[in-house]
Point group: C2
Chain length 96, copies 2
């Protein structure tokens, strides 16, 4: 089970992530991804889903046509862990 | 472009749909689907996505692990149309 990041490690991780911010009132990070159309948005979600399933670490996300809002946290750890940082980074990479 | 359903047609349609309800303060219908796990939830979303793309009519939806919350409305018509009823019915069928 991954360990919850301390404040310093969390801030260091956030600096290395582009466009992610802390959720207000909750230890989680969030980002809005905007694609060209539904095909691209859902195609990306599918690639992320395969990875998330492999990691056994899943996003909270919503999709409206070409927009996907993602929130990441590690429920079992009660906050943010390396898993969230890793998944966030992979999502950015897959979004190109 | 599909025509917005009148109040009577809307209520008639709702009677034939299982588990769907009107969204408060908005002309849209919503339903929460709960699956066995993420694999089943996202697998279902993928089948719905292929159909939605073919219909050129897309859901608003959010997913947290095995739960998918769906909202349907036809933006261009400013409310509910036959497209929403058709997509809702197909979602129910695909969810088995």
């Amino acid at each position: 089970m991954p360990k919850r990041l301390g404040a310093e490690a969390r801030n260091e991780a956030l600096v290395t992530l582009t466009g992610w911010r802390l959720v207000e009132g909750r230890e989680a990070i969030t980002k809005r991804f905007i694609f060209r159309d539904f095909n691209e948005a859902f195609g990306w979600m599918t690639r992320v889903a395969l990875l998330a399933e492999k990691m056994d670490h899943h996003p909270e996300w919503s999709n409206v046509y070409k927009t996907v809002e993602v929130t990441l946290a590690t429920h079992d750890a009660g906050g943010l862990t390396e898993l969230d940082v890793k998944l966030a980074r992979a999502m950015d990479t897959l979004a190109g």
